[in-house]
Symmetry: C2
Subunit: 215 residues, 2 copies
């Protein structure tokens, strides 16, 4: 298993957001405990999650961007970079994205336990399609990063079958289907905790980034 996001990030890490908080619902906490139990024999691994700020090491980040995303780097505002934070970790506890991921190396699966708070509303009472897409991208993206290091989403194809009720806990199950050269194919579904309701199905394509090949 490779490091999750290259060698730049660990030094910016703060609080691990993947650990239980008072804002978690009982269902969320219950599932966390169930998966932690599965981690005891090593078949599953609990993945930590941080919301790093780039404040002190922005030069390293600039170097990363220049190497991996040279086209984008011309347009990036260095001053704004200092404020940058991971999209899914920017709401106050209990209002936005609450989630924790687990990884099974043998089965090449990442499972995300996710509760979308009241600030993620689309239609009244339901999660915004974009909030679901975001957590799908985060989950399949984690699977891709574990397999191949630094990657970029190239395609997301999402079928929204039923609206996800706001503040309910769901399971996002992802599966690395195949790797072909620099391409990674990962599929995923979003289900209710009792697995009786299939909310969403998706396929994704990721590309391993290569400093030699411009994006």
């Amino acid at each position: 298993m490779r490091p999750l996001a290259g060698s730049y990030l660990p030094e910016f890490f703060h609080e691990d957001h993947s650990l239980p908080k008072p804002s978690w619902s009982k269902d969320m906490r219950l599932l966390f405990d169930q998966f932690m139990k599965k981690c005891e024999d090593g078949s599953w691994i609990h993945l930590p999650s941080y919301n790093y700020t780039l404040f002190q090491r922005s030069q390293d980040i600039s170097a990363f961007i220049h190497a991996y995303l040279p086209t984008a780097s011309k347009l990036i505002n260095e001053e704004k970079l200092l404020q940058a934070k991971i999209f899914t970790r920017n709401f106050e506890d209990g209002l936005g994205f609450e989630y924790v991921m687990f990884y099974n190396d043998v089965e090449k699966r990442v499972v995300c336990v996710f509760e979308g708070g009241p600030y993620l509303q689309g239609m009244p009472g339901c999660l915004h399609g974009g909030a679901i897409a975001t957590m799908i991208d985060a989950t399949v993206g984690t699977s891709a990063m574990i397999a191949e290091g630094i990657v970029m989403t190239a395609n997301l194809n999402i079928n929204f079958k039923r609206p996800v009720p706001l503040c309910s806990v769901v399971l996002i199950n992802s599966q690395l289907d195949k790797i072909e050269g620099r391409k990674l194919f990962i599929s995923c579904n979003v289900q209710s905790v009792d697995e009786k309701t299939l909310y969403t199905e998706a396929t994704s394509l990721f590309i391993k980034l290569d400093p030699e090949k411009q994006v």
Copy 2:
């Protein structure tokens, strides 16, 4: 042109977030002014945008959910609904989603001028794929609502061609391609302001909701 979101919402409306703010960049303000000029002869319409709270009228919202989303309604926590806010309008000014949309009725096009702030980061220096998916869903969703009233996203198929630099202004151009029964097909792309860079292309399918047909 039908009302944008049924008869429930207007009473909860607060500040119009689609009007210029001090946090808008110069590029964003410039494009706003250009589109407002196009609105003068009536060919384009400026679309307002609100972040309503459901505090005082949650019973009306419950009635809406029971009518249109009966399956989801069983799971919705009424207390949490009181806190609910539209996903794309929950960040402080300048940190998250800054956007304004315009509509051309003859061409059936919705254009969104969008600047993604530093709290929407995915890869260092770039917008999170989920943040782009969110604004695509919001833009094509607006197009679908204008055409058919109350709708739900059924499919989003997004090709991410190039990373979008954090804090740059982009144009999301959507086009209603066809309506077949309750299905609406809407395509869309995300471009740089000078139209020289194509960042993202997407197709979408929306379903008009019908209280007689359960989702």
